[in-house]
């Protein structure tokens, strides 16, 4: 189109000079010095206090270090850039503080789970069930095999219900494009805000209303989970279907395909990985929910495989039932099963990330 002017930076000393110097990036000595002093002084003061006094570390950090760091950074900001530097430093220090706070909480949660969970985890803990096990039984016996099976069964049931409906909802929004699209979107969003305990209560009312025909169990638990899973699947699938190029649809229609066939053969396959991500995110959304299962699925120490076979345990409810018991072994079981639950969630999380990364043009 046009001739490209090529030049070698080596041959242009002026340009080379300019790139190296960058006068606007130049920081005066005063700046560097005040930054260093501002970060060292509070640290030294707190370290000195920590070793000389008996104030606990956590209190030192929040009551002494953080305010001291704020003041020091404020002074440094003032020294380098005048009054406007103060607020900048305050923002930087507090935002780093907020980040550290969140990370400390997260590391504490995951770290304590790993440390205490692994202590009680063993091979038989994964596959044995809890029959003949009382809270005081030593850890050599019993396990959460029944609860893991229960979780898998309940999640499968809910996925079988929520995934087709969720994808159909997304298809309605992006493919059929009927007049009710804004309303459907609104209802799906409203549904995503339903608290998990309310989903459980809703199923419970049905159980109570049918009076024995429909019982607590895996199927009821799956229904409660499906209520929570549906909006996640629908919203994610909608986002993915929107990414399918319009040309594919018009192309298929132009070749004489029917609307339904276009969706089955062109649109959904084109969005396959995204749909899988939607399903995984839906499962990850529900797998740790406890309240709906307490109300709808009940509790059992036995291995139950029949969806209608009465009360069934799942990993979250197992954790819930063992947390506050006054027996160390029961509490150890709670930690171990919570670790199992976190590992399940982590697998889903990583799977969604990996698949999502493979998808082109996805920013999330």
């Amino acid at each position: 189109m046009s001739t490209t002017i090529t030049f070698d930076p080596e041959t242009l000393p002026a340009l080379q000079q300019q790139q190296i110097q960058r006068p606007w990036r130049h920081k005066p000595i005063k700046f560097t010095a005040s930054i260093i002093i501002a970060s060292i002084i509070p640290f030294v003061v707190v370290a000195a206090l920590f070793f000389t006094s008996e104030i606990p570390g956590a209190i030192l950090m929040t009551v002494v270090y953080f305010p001291l760091q704020l003041i020091a950074a404020g002074i440094a900001g003032f020294a380098t850039r005048g009054q406007r530097g103060i607020l900048d430093s305050v923002i930087i220090v507090t935002s780093i503080g907020a980040t550290i706070f969140s990370m400390v909480v997260l590391v504490s949660v995951i770290g304590s789970l790993i440390v205490r969970g692994f202590a009680a985890l063993s091979a038989h803990f994964i596959y044995q069930n809890n029959v003949y096990i009382s809270p005081s039984t030593p850890l050599e016996y019993g396990g959460i095999g029944h609860a893991i099976l229960g979780t898998l069964l309940i999640v499968t049931i809910s996925a079988l219900i929520a995934v087709p409906i969720g994808i159909a909802t997304a298809v309605y929004i992006t493919e059929v494009r009927g007049g009710a699209v804004p309303y459907v979107r609104f209802f799906v969003q409203a549904m995503s805000g339903v608290p998990s305990v309310v989903a459980g209560l809703f199923i419970l009312t049905i159980i109570v209303a049918t009076d024995g025909v429909f019982e607590q169990g895996a199927f009821a638990g799956g229904l409660a989970y499906a209520i929570l899973m549906l909006p996640t699947v629908a919203r994610t699938a909608e986002e993915v279907l929107k990414l399918v190029p319009e040309d594919l649809r018009t192309g298929a229609l132009a070749l004489g395909s029917t609307r339904a066939r276009t969706v089955y053969r062109v649109v959904l396959p084109a969005a396959k990985t995204g749909i899988i991500t939607a399903v995984i995110l839906g499962i990850a959304r529900v797998i740790g929910e406890t309240a709906p299962l307490l109300l709808a699925a009940g509790n059992s120490d036995q291995t139950v495989v029949n969806p209608f076979g009465g009360p069934i345990s799942a990993v979250p409810t197992y954790v819930f039932n063992n947390v506050a018991l006054p027996y160390p072994d029961a509490v150890a079981r709670a930690w171990a099963s919570a670790l199992v639950l976190l590992i399940l969630v982590g697998i889903l999380f990583v799977a969604a990330r990996l698949i999502g990364r493979g998808r082109q043009g996805s920013k999330r």
Binding site: V109, A168, V176, A284, A291
Partner: protein, 323 residues
């Protein structure tokens, strides 16, 4: 909306209804799309019907008084303490989570190097995925002793402020601990919305501000935060909806008492409507008490629905404005 758009849609619809298979397909998909409405209506009707029993036996005092004596004759029940308690916990959680989340997203968008910001985004998403029962377990064993010590200190040095009063000497099961746990659940939700909103600040505006000599603070104050205000408020409301409905994490760290704890946030005992349901359900005395719990669930449903609808409207509106 141009006319070609409308025409294209009409053509598509004409094509869609010209074939019998497509008509069936359309109906099935439309029916599925309305399942969300059916479920919402089902919840509202089924739980709403239960409030009739509650109101018939208790009258309006069901939501204006505090009591839970089911086995007396006549039984008295009032959930004011629970309704108010849910709001109090949410307010405490907001006080902790909102500044933390906004600062966290400012750090991720404007301060941290790209790689650290990406890492933090992933970590925050992971934080959102932690099940509430795990947070409850952690709070019960790890947070409780620490929080007890901190609250004791707060009471010792700032006890003259009414909200830090504590008359019982028991610092466990306080609204503050429960609110703190809720804040931990809210931070990832609020942060992810806030971060996205702030990241969408037009670079032109940011650059123009810097060219005019804005410092970081003035840029935030006059460009980024006003630009993202709607989205941030929406994100906070989404987090609030989650906090109001949270059950299990609160169950382990809050001592449920039926009297209203108006303001003493580090006094043992408080209320939460979601937690009331789970804690009473295990030892429910009969059909009457169950229907009272279901009625309480109805109020929880209405509360969270209103908060969520407002949040989604705000988020949707700002999203459209920014496109």
């Amino acid at each position: 909306m141009s006319t070609t758009d409308a025409e294209a849609r009409r053509d598509l619809q004409a094509a869609a209804t010209s074939n019998r298979g497509d008509r069936v397909f359309n109906r099935v998909v439309t029916a599925a799309a309305f399942s969300a409405l059916v479920v919402l209506a089902g919840i509202a009707i089924f739980l709403g019907l239960q409030t009739i029993t509650a109101f018939q036996s208790q009258g309006l005092s069901f939501i204006t008084t505090t009591a839970w004596d089911i086995n007396t004759d006549p039984p008295t029940a009032g959930i004011l303490g629970m309704l108010y308690g849910s709001v109090l916990l949410a307010v405490i959680a907001l006080f902790i989570a909102v500044p933390a989340s906004i600062l966290l997203s400012i750090f991720m968008v404007f301060i941290a190097p790209t790689r650290l910001a990406t890492f933090l985004t992933n970590v925050i998403d992971l934080m959102a995925a932690i099940p509430s029962v795990i947070l409850g377990l952690w709070a019960f064993y790890i947070l409780n002793p620490t929080a007890e010590e901190w609250q004791r200190l707060l009471n010792q040095y700032l006890g003259w402020i009414p909200i830090f009063e504590n008359t019982s000497g028991n610092f466990l099961g306080t609204p503050f601990i429960a609110g703190f746990v809720l804040a931990i659940m809210m931070i990832p939700i609020v942060t992810s919305v806030t971060r996205e909103v702030l990241a969408r600040t037009p670079p032109d505006l940011v650059n123009a501000g810097e060219a005019l000599g804005c410092s970081l603070w003035t840029m935030l104050r006059f460009v980024a935060l006003p630009y993202g205000r709607g989205g941030i408020v929406g994100g906070v409301m989404l987090g609030l909806g989650r906090a109001l409905g949270e059950t299990i994490a609160v169950f382990f760290v809050l001592k449920i008492v039926f009297e209203v704890n108006w303001y003493m946030i580090i006094e043992s005992g408080g209320g939460s409507i979601a937690t009331l349901i789970v804690s009473r359900f295990g030892e429910v005395s009969g059909e009457f008490e169950l229907s009272l719990l279901l009625a309480a669930g109805f109020f929880l449903f209405v509360m969270t629905l209103v908060v969520n609808v407002i949040a989604n409207l705000i988020v949707a509106r700002t999203g459209r404005l920014q496109q």
